[in-house]
Each structure stands twice: as structure tokens, then as C-alpha cells.
Symmetry: C2
Subunit: 234 residues, 2 copies
DNA sequence: TCATGTGAAGCAGTTCACAGCG
DNA sequence: CGCTGTGAACTGCTTCACATGA
């Protein structure tokens, strides 16, 4: 994944003998996005094991089953506490719950989508964005022919209503799926609407601020990466 | 996502200047995906400058304008040759062309999409996947109600025809947009169809091989990353 | 005994600082 | 002079190796 932004760092996190972990002291992020992404992968894997009725798993079993590194699993988890039992491994159900809590998936995050083109429309209907901890509650576009149309769980509203509508909805996460040249203005509106995190599909690298974290996802770049490695094999 | 891959390779490309660079010596990839992704970003930026009629640019101007690091731009480019003029900077048009060549964007890559659900459908219609160097030429699904339907540039075909159809089309890149449990079988079929690169949207981490490079993109994980940092600010 | 949790080592990616050249 | 290109320093991520404890 291409990490376009870097996380800020401030706190030293010495791993000392006591039970004082990051989670318990209340101190937050010297945690890198890479680690956080892996936590999601671990959770995804544990959910699969849970569905299969598997109750215990060691880091090595997880690693083999899901193409991961057992050391890295343990190191990543160690940032947040001690979740395993020596000589045994991890309790699948319990660790999954810990990860859900860590990733703040215990509550519902309302999502607003800006730009109801191909991508915006697909994401409005996308199950992963409309289940569990996520729920699409608003969608915006400038195109008059789209206003008022029902797409997935929402009815498209004009961008002029974006700020007030998002304020009312309480959505703190937005998906930005507008053309590149419209992105800066849209982002500015999202700031004013109180949005704190943005998943940006517009082909521009928008900078994170302390007030609003941005994750840039450019699908064309992914294709170009594959194109490069096709011509520069191995 | 653990990127383990590094071995050498061979690629011939005529050099342009004095010193022996990777491109000239014929050796290929010790190049990291991170670097390649940045090349795409540089190209995207240069195209924007080109449209504005700007002819020369220094690494520092690029960096300021597009939130990049000037040193990193120079280091990244240095892997492939010497494209700038000391005391001046880079020729926008020329550098863009070099990057297009490096990223193998000088020819059309035909794409096959497996799974015409929300994501597959959106990508079939997605401009970035149907312009310039990319072109969607086939789409597959198991759902009988979808077979025969025209979506964007393609007509949906049954998955049973996947191998022969992709072979005929000559597509070497596939987009995998099926449910997680269907992904392994679909990938196997893609291997048999001669596909060399896969953009995987299924929520499983599929491993790359030397025969077929895989780029895993899990949109839910992106959301979960934002969710985490929402609750663990700064 | 077995697998976790963790300092220490190793490696990759980024930034610094400046030599070299137009 | 200014900007590129680049060894050297640095930061941070990953892997190793083993002490620790159920």
C-alpha cells in the first residue's frame, strides 16, 4: 500500500517489564499506519477462524495460514498489551474483540460520500461500507441529474448542502470521489463540516493535518505499479 | 502486506547519458514498490504542469507544489538515469516521457475483470481503467442474471469461459473483485489464463509469485485505519 | 515443554550535506 | 550562482534469538 503520509511521532515507547502498555497509559500514536493495517489483517483472519469454530491459535499458525510473519504478529500486538498465553497461544474470540476495540470498531462510524460517479456510487452500495462498524449516511454530487436519486442507502444531495447536511448527520469520516480539480474545494468544505478523516480517491495527494487525517488511494497508481513490474520482472 | 521479493532480472533499454544506471546495465528490480508508486505520483504531477504549459521544473518546485520531498524525487530518478540539468532542473515534457516509458505506459494494457459486483462494475466504467495505457477488454461473473449485460466497454461472460476468453483477449492484467471465498479458485483460473499481474480487491491477502504479481487492495482496511487514528489522535 | 514477549541485530527507506556541473 | 546527483548519516521497520512464564 502506498503510504503517502507519515505519522507524527513524539512519545518514546520503551517496552519495559511492567504492564504499562500504550493502551493502558492512554498515550496514543507512535503507531505506524503499517502496523495498524496489519492489525486489520489479523482481525480479518481471526474472524475467519472464528467462523470455523477454531478457539485457540498460535502466532505461527496464524502466520502460516494467512501468509504473515509470526514475529511481526507478536511485535505488533505487544504495542498494545499482552493478549496471549505462553505455551498456548491466543484465544481467537478474545483477541478479535481486543482488535475490534483497538481499531475503534465497537461503534458505528457514519460515512459521507462526496462525488457520486462510478467510484462513489459503487462505495455507497459496497457491503463493507454498509455493515459492521460502517454506515453510509449521505452522498453528494453537483450533477443535477443525480440529485434526488436513491443510491444504496442514501439519496443524493447537492454539494451546496454538504456542510450543513454532514454537520447534521454527525459523520466524521468522508469518502472523496470527485475529479482532481474539484478535490481541494471539496476537502475545504469537509473541513468546515467537521469531518476528521478522509478516504481520498481523487488523483491528487491531499495532505493530512492534525485536524483531519487523509488516506490517499489512487487506483490508477496501483495499475501503474503492476505495469512497471510486468516490464521489470522479478 | 509483506512485500518479500527482490531478485535480479533483465531488461534492455538504451541509455541517454554518461553514468551506468540500472536501465543501462540491464539489471532490473531492486526497486521497491514504494519507489514505483512515487514515480506514478511524479508523472501525475508532471502531466498537470504540462497542461499548464510549464516547461521546466526543479525538484524543489515539484516538492513544494505537490507535497513531496525534493531529495526523494532526485534519489528515485537517480535509480534509472540522469534526467535533469544542473543549475536548471528538469524538462517537464521530457521527464514525463521518461517516466511513461519506465512505467511501461507506452503500450496498451488490456484488463480483465473477474466479479461484476459493485466494485467490478465501477472499475469497468472507471475512466482511469479505460484510457491512456489501460483498457478493459473482458468481464466475468457467475450470476446468470448478469451474463450478457453490457457494462462499460464489455459484455459480461460466465466464469466458465474465463480461461479461454482471457487467453484469446491477450490480457495480462486482471482485476479480482469477487468474495473472499471465491478468490483462490478465481486466481487459479487466472494463472491458467496466462495472467501475469492481479489487482486484488477481495478481502484476502493473496501471495505474489514470480509468475504472477499481486497487489492486494482492501478498501475496508483503509477505513479501519482511519477509524483507528480517529480514536488515537496524533 | 511450548509459545509468548522482547532486547539486540539487521536491513530498508529517508534525509542530510555537499561535490560536481551547467 | 543554483540545482542535480550521491555517499554518508540517520531513522524506523523487520527479523533474530532467547529469556520468561503458563
Amino acid at each position: 500500500m502506498p503510504p503517502h503520509q507519515q505519522p507524527p511521532g513524539s512519545q518514546g515507547s520503551e517496552g519495559s517489564r511492567s504492564r504499562a502498555t500504550r493502551a493502558e497509559t492512554g498515550q496514543a500514536s507512535t503507531v505506524s499506519p503499517l502496523t495498524v493495517n496489519r492489525l486489520s489483517v489479523y482481525l480479518r483472519s481471526l474472524r475467519q477462524l472464528r467462523e470455523q469454530g477454531i478457539e485457540k491459535v498460535s502466532s505461527q499458525q496464524l502466520a502460516r495460514r494467512f501468509n504473515l510473519s509470526s514475529t511481526q504478529i507478536r511485535k505488533d500486538l505487544a504495542l498494545f498489551g499482552e493478549f496471549g498465553t505462553r505455551g498456548v497461544g491466543y484465544d481467537v474470540l478474545e483477541l478479535a474483540e481486543h482488535l475490534e476495540k483497538l481499531l475503534a470498531l465497537g461503534r458505528v462510524h457514519r460515512l459521507a460520500i462526496v462525488g457520486m460517479g462510478n467510484v462513489g456510487t459503487a462505495l455507497a452500495r459496497f457491503p463493507a461500507f454498509n455493515s459492521g462498524s460502517f454506515q453510509v449516511v449521505a452522498g453528494f454530487d453537483n450533477d443535477p441529474s443525480k440529485i434526488g436519486r436513491r443510491i444504496g442507502p442514501i439519496v443524493v444531495r447537492p454539494t451546496s448542502e454538504l456542510v450543513t447536511s454532514i454537520r447534521e448527520s454527525g459523520a466524521k469520516i468522508a469518502i472523496l470521489a470527485v475529479p482532481a480539480d474539484a478535490a481541494p474545494a471539496a476537502l475545504d468544505a469537509l473541513h468546515r463540516a467537521g469531518v476528521r478523516a478522509v478516504l481520498n480517491f481523487a488523483p491528487v495527494t491531499l495532505p493530512s493535518t492534525s485536524r483531519c487525517r487523509i488516506k490517499n488511494v489512487d487506483l490508477r497508481i496501483h495499475l501503474e505499479e503492476l505495469s512497471f513490474f510486468l516490464d521489470h520482472p522479478e
